[in-house]
Amino acid sequence: MPYGPHTAEDRTRMLQALGIDSVDRLFDDIPEELRASELRLPPPESELELSARLAALAGRNRTDLATFLGAGVFRHWSPPVVDQILLRGEWYTAYTPYQPEISQGTLQSVYEYQSLLAELTALPVVSASHYDGAAATAEAALMTCRQTRRARVLVSAAVHPHYRATLRTYFGGRLEVDELPMLADGDETGTVDLTALERLLADPDRPVAGVVAAQPNFLGLIEPMQRIGDLTHAAGALFVAVVEPVSLAVLAPPGAYGADIAAGEGQPLGIPAQYGGPYLGILASTDALVRQIPGRLVGLTTDLEGRRAYVMTLRAREQDIRRDRAASNICTNQALLALAASVWLAAIGPHGLRDVAAWGAQRAGELEAALAAVGAPRLHRAPYLNEFAVRVPDARAVHRRLLERGVLAGLPLADVLPDQPSLAEALLVCATELTTADEIARFAAALGAELAAVDQADERVPVSASAG
């Protein structure tokens, strides 16, 4: 065993102390008929061999592409200080701070994360316990049901499809989820249909607990959050804003437009994409919901001698104490990711954060112009920040062919929103401060070449048809 300390002599000493001749005796309580069949796994590998295997596997993923893919996970500059702090064993090999006297590092860092996110969201209560944007959104929706004692939630169709799918799984048919449609035409196409919202909220037999909408929405568009919130509150429901944290440097924060809860994906705050996680679910609420928010909370208090000290608090809400009446089964404290987000925010600073958001907008504007120039115009007219959809005929095939040209051309929307016919021929593309002018030029040139090829193919069709 590679990491075990025991010599043969150590084992003998322990067995002798126990008065047994073999460790097998300690497993005699497993009934004969239930003992495991032989474990069939590849043989152990030395560190040298294993490192080569791992490097080879990692090498089979392509890292050479100019990428314009966002859709909830965004590339950002992460100053090396972030990962170097994260690699300290005192952070990553500790556990949940059950013993506050020897866990002040983790506790203060979580408290500071809560404080930083409270600033960003303009909501006072923040929990660092959540897995990702999807699970945080589902927990937020459940909070609205507990608080209002109602059983129906409206979710905008322009919320990330994975978040909506997760919410449906969490609600599991016990609680109702209705989809709030997007406008299908006009200048605001692709944003929440406010008339439909009013209608869905008005059903007296099926009162709504909460309304969930995203800013920017999954298509990158800016939603009328204040209006959505006002209509929601007028119906006695709570408003959940699904947010992207970097955008909060420049977009109005949930607390400013009256959202009761903010949920979202914390990955953009210095956390690598790593094919899906681990990420950080953002969950923040008003003070009125402090007893409904699931997960660990860290509070500031004093020790016996009056020194400042931090401790997990309001613990009697949690699963280890409340068991079947807990607000959630959540047990995790996503502390290491909260730490990454905090160090990233501290290193980048408030001005840097604004610059990151502004660069995304700048590059996205350049990208929009470059793609429009080669025949792929924006699909929507509503304003956007750093992500938008472009119209591309035969989007899936073009996307695949662009890979061969070294470009990851965002996301074919038909892959994730097959139920939206208006998005069948569209790519969702994004830019960040890491996107270069050169990459934009490469993308535009490659797309232009592909679209020209498609046009030529289209022109050939009648010819070949007549020939057949």
Binding site: R291, L314, R315, A316, I321, R322, R325
Partner: protein, 127 residues
């Protein structure tokens, strides 16, 4: 630990002070001490009706949570709003300012099923 003689007690450690058809309810000093520092009390809305020995709320201490049981059935007339901001009253004055709710007794005969002070003292000395 004194057990006031003018009150009735349930085996779940709630006390009742009867005044005509009204009753004031709280938890005993013994119960509060067992819980430790009370940090939160969840009480029903006025107007709700309670069954005898049914739960009417929850009391939380730093590391424990416990149900509250109604010693008699009735309609909730008033809850102690003070406790929202000062839950420590449950520890400090369990029979006074730490009261939890007042209700209109539905059936006075139910009071017969409760313990008097000596019987309650006996109960807590055995546990």
């Amino acid at each position: 630990m004194g057990v006031p003689t003018d009150l009735r007690y349930s085996k779940d450690h709630e006390w009742v002070r009867v005044d005509g058809d009204g009753a004031t309810i709280g938890i005993t000093e013994y119960a509060a001490a067992q819980l430790g520092d009370v940090v939160f009390v969840e009480l029903p809305d006025p107007g709700s009706t309670l069954d005898q020995f049914g739960t009417f709320g929850v009391v939380e201490s730093v590391k424990a949570v416990s149900d509250l049981f109604a010693p008699v059935a009735g309609e909730v007339v008033e809850v102690n709003g003070e406790l929202a901001g000062r839950p420590e009253l449950v520890n400090e004055e369990p029979y006074g300012a730490g009261w939890m709710l007042r209700l209109r007794i539905a059936d006075a005969a139910q009071l017969e099923q409760l313990l008097d002070a000596p019987a309650y003292e006996q109960l807590i000395s055995e546990t």
